[in-house]
């Protein structure tokens, strides 16, 4: 089956791409190639890089950027927004419930052991209500498309989703490279994301904080793979970028060491994992966090975004229950469907999965970044057999999904345009209300036929346009 081509249908440009195609046909291919090289230079010069762990040779690499935009019509986007809003509302309601009355477990809609045996569930959060009742201040919802009207949520990222700086820099780069294009095609702006993030974080400041809260971004440091993004967001929001050793608890508040002494912090946008947040509560060997911050948090004197313990909501084992979760908390069917998922913990499903390995994608429940997964159709017989052994040994660790025929969008290659598979990660801000900038990060598999879009596995990115139509 040919995958859905987002740009063309029957030799013609699809509706959202009409204006772009018109512009593209008038361009000199040599000039476009030149522009693509320019883009790479811009990224290197500005230091927009990411680190790949375990890759000594290239401590800092670029995420390849493709100059062909991914275009979504206003109508398509409005429908996506409804589905995304419903989903993040459900995620937050689920988190509040699971750390308080656990109604969903009592109602038997999801099995108890999936929570109690889950490392992502933090007993320290039981009975704690974060300021404003918000858990996932920033969520990245990964969406894939398989047809004109077929969108699915592939996964939720409710811990410390990354990539938003690429969304912003991609747009900036496109506007520098092709200013005339933005006059011909009306694209909704994304550049106000940092302001929205700041507003959003401000509105969930701790109750006892009067006036403007002091906000800081907590980074694990300049050797972290996403350091560029942490610095970028702090800069764009006009807030401090802090590291664990800059912080300590002073008089019952979290405070940062400045050239004029310790200054209080009210809202901490942390890009450090739960495990490392507080050596007194979690991993004692962590130097990335702040000793005692959890006590300050439980006393309601600091907002931590995202709240500790949100990982339980984006766990792959929980994912398969998202349709039930959305329905339970919103009273309606999910607008955006899940990808059908087999839980290998269930014997019938396991049997099915083992029998159909060559057509399925099997994922580790706690894995991320595209590691530890099997793409059945792309794997060799030997690889499938090896994976089947792992599956049989620990079925609980895996879920399986059909190999979706992900939509494609063309990329610029040496030989002109060529279709490649894409996904989409819109960034959702939750606080007093839900804010979503139009678009998100489009990740693209640069290898022909590949379905893996992760940047650590050779994926690239594209500017994502939502049309003002």
């Amino acid at each position: 089956m040919t995958p859905f081509d987002e740009m063309r249908l029957g030799g013609q440009a699809r509706n959202p791409y009409e204006d772009y195609q018109g512009w593209f046909d008038r361009q000199d291919p040599k000039r476009l190639k030149q522009k693509a090289d320019d883009a790479e230079r811009v990224f290197r010069r500005t230091g927009i890089t990411f680190a790949v762990y375990g890759d000594q040779e290239a401590a800092e690499r670029l995420i390849p950027f493709d100059i062909v935009p991914r275009i979504i019509s206003g109508k398509e986007w409005r429908r996506l927004v409804q589905g995304i809003e419903q989903r993040v509302q459900a995620l937050n309601a689920f988190l509040d419930d699971i750390y308080h009355r656990q109604e969903i477990l009592r109602a038997g809609r999801i099995p108890k052991e999936i929570i109690s045996n889950n490392e992502a569930f933090l007993p320290e959060m039981i009975g704690v209500r974060p300021p404003g009742g918000v858990y996932t201040h920033i969520t990245g919802v990964d969406i894939v498309r398989t047809g004109e009207n077929d969108f699915f949520v592939l996964e939720d990222n409710a811990r410390t989703p990354s990539g938003v700086s690429y969304m912003l820099e991609n747009r900036e780069t496109m506007m520098q490279l092709f200013p005339e294009l933005f006059q011909q095609v009306k694209v909704l702006p994304v550049e106000n994301y940092p302001q929205l993030l700041r507003e959003s974080l401000t509105s969930v400041k701790p109750q006892q904080c009067d006036g403007k809260p002091a906000i800081a971004v907590l980074t694990p440091g300049s050797f972290n793979s996403a350091y560029f993004e942490h610095a970028f967001l702090a800069d764009q929001m006009g807030v401090e970028l802090v590291e664990g050793p800059d912080l300590r608890v002073v008089d019952g508040h979290v405070a940062m060491r400045t050239t004029q002494g310790y200054k209080r912090i009210d809202v901490l946008y942390r890009r450090v994992d739960d495990d490392y947040l507080d050596p007194l509560t979690f991993r004692p060997d962590s130097v990335l966090g702040v000793p005692g911050i959890m006590d300050v948090y439980r006393a309601g004197k600091i907002t931590i975004a995202n709240a500790p313990g949100t990982g339980i909501s984006d766990d792959k084992a929980i994912y398969s229950y998202m349709p039930e979760i959305v329905e339970f908390y919103t009273g309606r069917k999910a607008i955006l469907p899940n990808v059908p998922t087999w839980r290998c913990s269930e014997p019938d499903s396991l049997a099915y999965v083992l029998e159909h390995l060559e057509e399925l994608v099997v994922k580790e429940v706690h894995g991320s970044g595209g590691y530890g997964m099997l793409v059945g159709p792309a794997a060799s017989k030997k690889e499938r057999a090896a994976f089947a052994r792992k599956l049989r040994a620990r079925p609980k660790n895996y879920i399986a999904q059909p190999t979706l025929s992900l939509s494609t969008c063309p990329i610029m290659t040496g030989k002109g345009l060529a279709p490649r598979h894409v996904d989409l990660r819109p960034f959702v801000l939750v606080s007093d209300r839900i804010r979503i900038v139009p678009g998100g990060l489009t990740r693209v598999a640069l290898k022909k036929g590949s379905l893996v879009v992760n940047s650590s596995q050779g994926g690239g990115t594209k500017d994502t346009w939502v049309l003002d139509d």
Partner: protein
Amino acid sequence: MLLGRSANGLYWMARYIERAENMARLVDTGLRLALTQTSASSDEWASVLTSAGVRDLFEQENDTFDTATVTNFLLRDTANPSSVLSSIDTARMNARMVRTALTRETWESVNEAWMALHRMLKRRVDEPDLPAVLDAVKRETALIRGAFQGTMLRNEIFDFAQMGTMIERADNTARILDVKYYVLLPSAAWVGSSLDNSQWQTILRSVSALRSYRWTHEGDFNPVNIADYLILNRRMPRSLAFCYRGICDSLDYLADEYGDRRACNEMADTKLEKLKTAAVSDIFDEGLHEFLSDFIRDNAALGNQIAADFRFY
């Protein structure tokens, strides 16, 4: 408001940029001496290594002071923390840590310098390529300084970087003078000796002051004037007096902004006062070498006091 860690990052970013540039200038001077061969070039290279404060380190690994070995050690040896390559690495690492405190122009100039110098210093530099490489180092650091001076708001961020630059520069000028102090001593001053004339010019050249000295002292090369020029001249941008004027200005601005004066303010003021009121004859009377070694020690102590007073750690 500025994090103590950021103040530390800015200070050391600036110090290492200054150091990379000074290192290139030292190599340039050494190379010139080796070419003109007015003295044994190995002695000159040894004194260049002493000025750079890395002679012991060099001698641990090498036993000859030939041009190729010394220049590569000073330019690109990563085991030498003050080599141009190490310096630009450290400068860039600090800049990356404080990049939200820098203008885009400043950050990009540091990042581009780092990329360009890595490209150039990836392989051993052969002697014929040295002039081009040294020019590139000076050009890249000048571009950083231009971006920094031209775009940075004059606030605490600027002041911490400025203090880093001036403390490093004062240290460098004082070391160069101290290594060569014996040629400046009156007893060695044979008027008109071509050997000394070239030694004196070397000192001036290694702080890029040969031409400006001619303007100021009308080409009259003598040790007293040279010492006066590099230590006390308030308009000469690499003199000790000039550096301390800059340090005190920054510390005064910080004291105004923060509403209090700290121990480092007094230390720097005392030193500046001395540089303002001393006559060069006093310095020779006191002993040039003693004066310079005291200065180097006090300058380092001031750096530590600044770190303590502004909570760098």
